[in-house]
Symmetry: C2
Subunit: 633 residues, 2 copies
């Protein structure tokens, strides 16, 4: 696989430029000749004579000059292609993705609907189905599509979850209005008429049982009538304010508004999403994480127990596969078990979402060339490596147990922006957010080609679908394809983890690290014997980060980023670090902990000679900068 790896990217020196140029030109000329061959009888719109006019010449001159200005300006961009940049989740793109995007862009299809993108809508559904198959979703019942990025994908997850979780309330009220019995399975397996259930029971139907009940109503009531009855009672239709009054008027049961249980390491955009949806940031319950930055299954169980006690419904549980700041993979197998136990023990149901925006491609490691699941021992044997361990494999394999999963091809998929993906295990749930425009609807049955109906966005680039699709064809979603990229970059992070902590690596300073990361993101603090308070440690790390950050006036020799762990979300992470830093925990609640952070996106980071040794280059740069900061005091 190391041989193929050399062909997958343009290369830090543009080593594969000749190949890339040839293929880019082929894509471009192929497109031009498509135009030429399209109704040749139409003749030419722009003639040779037109190209000899002063106005034409002037316009071309402006284009060339302004392009030169742009190209010159872009030189000030960040060299993400280089092993010298190990900062954000941003690196090289696969050659396939670059060329696929370019080829698609020339056609400029709009994947909102197949009639404006007959080819790339198919490619988008195929690419999403490939991701769904990789994580283990059943292709017959799941669904997925691409988004502009992880935030929109995660937004859709919670938007749909809100629809599904409140569906039983809507169904019960609509069934009363219609005078129809609607049977539903309760968590204990018994069947009840939704109309007879108390609010608490309605708010605790399993997502799949809610969707079954939805289908049951449609089976007995004509479509239009059912639609009208549901619209009169649905949150999305009557709005949150009227919905709140309706609950009070009907059940007179002042339950607290539902909460979302989110790993405290989850991305900052989750709060943005919860605010925008009207759920409210205070309805987030942050679930503590352990020293590995993984959500504590026991803490999740306690959060469920607290909800049961306060009679608070749980809209959703958000687990992370590949945290932004630590590269941690929640033990999703244990998380899913806790969700099941909460249902059994407390009668609490929830939509389980896995935010695998960064880490989703890790599931490729669990697939052989034929798509069959690989066990931990099989993966290790195949790769001749002691990594990953069985717990890691169980966690990644458990993505198939989540109700929805988000994966960003523009992170570990090495696809150019914009490319996120939303995957839904039970595709029936998408009906809860569907919308019908008058000018796009062709009666195509399940309208699979009309994505705009079920997604937040409308017009969207078919080029992104072409990029993801082509990249998945060239670098397959298997242990030898994307799995290799995940393994190599994770190995890079572990190597950096070890190198930073090697005796004397940072001279008079030393690195205090989290445990070995689950993926390719590493966070650590640098300290020095002269740093005796947390504030001093933070100042040192801020100063190092400032000198090593990209995008400033001068480009440092090596580039990384920083973050600040804050209490209480990161208490579990920080405790051992504070101890190792020897600064006591007194300042922690107010100061937080500033750490340096590197995402190893460089697939050649630990390729060995003659590849440049950026691993030790980076460590050396941290030492040089740290000592310079200290000496300048």
């Amino acid at each position: 696989m190391s041989e193929a790896l050399r062909a997958w990217f343009l290369g830090p020196r543009g080593e594969n430029a000749e190949l890339a140029e040839r293929l880019l030109l082929e894509a471009f000329r192929d497109h031009v000749f498509w135009r030429r061959n399209h109704h040749p009888e139409d003749g030419f719109t722009i003639r040779e004579a037109d190209r000899r006019r002063p106005g034409y010449d002037d316009a071309v001159a402006v284009l060339i000059e302004e392009l030169h200005g742009l190209l010159a300006a872009l030189k000030r961009d960040v060299p993400f292609f280089s092993g010298r940049y190990q900062g954000h989740m941003l690196g090289e793109q696969t050659l396939a993705a670059q060329i696929g995007y370019f080829a698609g862009m020339l056609y400029n299809p709009n994947n909102v609907v197949a009639e404006a993108s007959p080819v790339t809508t198919r490619l988008e559904l195929e690419a999403a189905a490939q991701l769904a198959a990789m994580i283990g979703y059943d292709p017959a019942t799941s669904w997925g599509h691409l988004t502009s990025g992880g935030t929109v994908a995660n937004f859709e997850a919670l938007w749909i979850a809100r629809g599904v979780r409140y569906l039983p309330v809507t169904l019960a009220l609509a069934a009363r209005d219609l005078g129809e019995r609607v049977p539903a399975a309760l968590p204990d397996g018994t069947i009840a008429d939704l109309r007879d259930l108390p609010l608490w029971a309605l708010l605790n139907l399993r997502p799949s049982d809610a969707l079954d009940a939805h289908a049951a109503l449609h089976a007995v009531v004509p479509r239009t009538e059912a639609h009208r009855a549901l619209e009169a009672r649905a949150l999305s239709s009557i709005g949150y304010q009227e919905y709140t009054r309706q609950l009070a008027a009907t059940w007179d049961d002042p339950l607290p508004p539902a909460v979302v249980l989110i790993a405290s390491t989850a991305h900052y955009s989750w709060e943005k999403i919860v605010r925008a949806l009207g759920i409210g940031a205070q309805r987030i319950v942050q679930v503590p994480v352990d020293a590995h930055a993984r959500m504590h299954p026991e803490a999740l169980a306690e959060a469920f127990a607290a909800c049961a006690k306060s009679r608070t419904a749980v809209l959703g549980v958000v687990s992370v596969c590949g945290t932004t700041e630590e590269g941690a993979i929640d033990r999703l197998d244990a998380i899913a078990d806790v969700c099941n136990a909460a249902r059994r023990e407390h009668g609490l149901a929830a939509h389980l979402h896995a935010d695998a925006c960064h880490g989703g491609y890790a599931a490729a490691l669990t697939r052989d060339a034929g798509g069959a699941r690989l066990t931990g021992p099989q993966i290790r044997a195949h790769r001749g490596d002691a990594w990953p361990d069985d717990a890691w494999v169980r966690a990644v394999t458990a993505l198939e147990r989540a109700d929805s999963v988000t994966i960003d091809p523009h992170k570990m998929g090495y696809i150019p922006y914009p490319a996120g993906a939303f995957l839904l295990r039970d595709r029936r749930a998408r009906a809860l957010v569907s919308q019908e425009p008058p000018y796009l609807a062709h009666d195509d049955g399940d309208a699979s080609g009309f994505l705009g109906r079920w997604i937040l966005e409308g017009s969207k680039p078919g080029a992104a679908a072409a990029a993801v699709w082509l990249s998945h064809r060239v670098v397959p979603l298997t242990v030898d394809g994307y799995g290799h990229l995940v393994a190599e970059t994770s190995a890079g992070a572990r190597a950096l983890h070890a190198a930073l902590q090697a005796p004397g690596a940072l001279g008079s300073c030393r690195a205090v690290c989290l445990p070995e990361p689950d993926l390719n993101v590493l966070a650590w603090a640098v300290t020095h014997p002269s740093c005796t308070t947390l504030r001093e440690v933070n100042a040192l790390n801020e100063a190092i980060a400032e000198r090593m950050r990209a995008g400033g006036e001068r480009e440092p020799a090596y580039m990384l980023t920083r973050t600040r762990f804050a209490s209480p979300g990161c208490d579990g992470i920080a405790a051992p670090l504070l101890e190792e830093l020897g600064v006591g925990a007194g300042e922690w609640p107010t100061e937080g902990l500033v750490v340096l952070r590197s995402t190893i996106m460089d697939p050649y980071f630990v390729a060995g000679p003659p590849t440049p040794d950026h691993l030790h280059g980076l460590v050396g740069a941290v030492r040089t900068v740290a000592e310079a900061v200290l000496s300048e005091g």
Copy 2:
């Protein structure tokens, strides 16, 4: 300008392919040499010897074969470049945009934050500022950025509007908690302490007065304390359910939930947005339109009066500049006057939003080369044309009066997807949706380079910013730049409007058209003496549309789309059409009216010989297809 027009696009036959190829190669090689020149001492990661390995060869073979598969598949895409496609709002892209996107994509900057996109974040802010200047916003107080498209941009508009409109309630409660006086200007000009105001008055502060009051609170209370007090009371923080209870508990005033007054021609995504935000689809009040498909100012005034009577607050008013189905431009000057009158007469305030996703670039017609405003007579004199009339110019000029405006560069900007834009007149309002991540915050004062703080999306393509920026440099936002494209394509739509209605143009059939469109979108129904009911007319038009739609198995000679006008939203549009169709209005409420629809994106549509005459080609194709349908009927 017709001379420059020949240089702005690749051309329907790829006439400018040589130029494009040269510039694409220049952009590519320039990027490759940037890589080569970046720390040349690092040496090569991929060596010649690596390229002779079987694994390398195999990977290259896969790339080439799969790319060929993709290129072959793309041939089934829709020929948007051709004058034979006059369907959706999708056409050619400017050369500048194509090359700019490609150049930017090679660097793959992420415009979520300037440290991951030092160049393209600046270009994004510049491109948005150019659009803001075009519509007449004050650069010192406005703000804008690019989005993945119009839906997200419109989402942001209503998301921010919700924050601003409910801000006085939050401020009043926080001021009570803090025991601080917060002065605010009432619609009648008097100053009151927010704490003393009834709920109705709080819900009817003008957006700018609400933001002034926000600043006033911050002026007297330390930042952290103010933040805590506001968070304890803000809708986005406590959520809609608790907010609803809070209103009831504090004021005991059972006001109906606020509504959004939306032109009945507005895009279908508005309902999606209102549902997602938790406002609820039923809180949309559709404002009727006239025969031109423009929002009735009188109807808007009546809607305001009805709200005043039922004591219903108005979150926002959504006016459209360039409706999706009719290309209509609301008389925004009159709409804004009605909003002012509603404040004076009823004490009703609202956030005024202009959805100019399609039509926003029309404002370029009102700018001379130096950026100064042009009057109607000046525009007509400059272009030597009788179009546009003064009412049109007043409506477009009034975009500067809207609180927010959305414009899609990927529509009339001829930019590849994804490129929408959100523009905000009073940038202070963005604070109401801001979000702070721990790992991106550099203390850069107003943090203008950290877009992720104030927008819905996170990671986003800097390449899109490069495309919009370069295109605006080459095709300026003036009467001779984008104004020329708007004028030419609008002239195309008017020419089609006339040609369809020329005697005998459709043989035994005839076209029934809306009045002349305000922009480049045209909708019409074909009828025949044998069609005596609405159902028959609809069947005829459905059959024509089916044979002329793109994206199917066989490509028709000319391509267009269709839509269905529905009651009651389109009552005003349909009344004269039904009369002219002679079918009576009895079936209208249930059947709606199916019409054919063309967006003239082709800038050469009315260029005259030797450019192919697609205008009459399209009319002839409609006739041929209509007669074929009838003869097979």
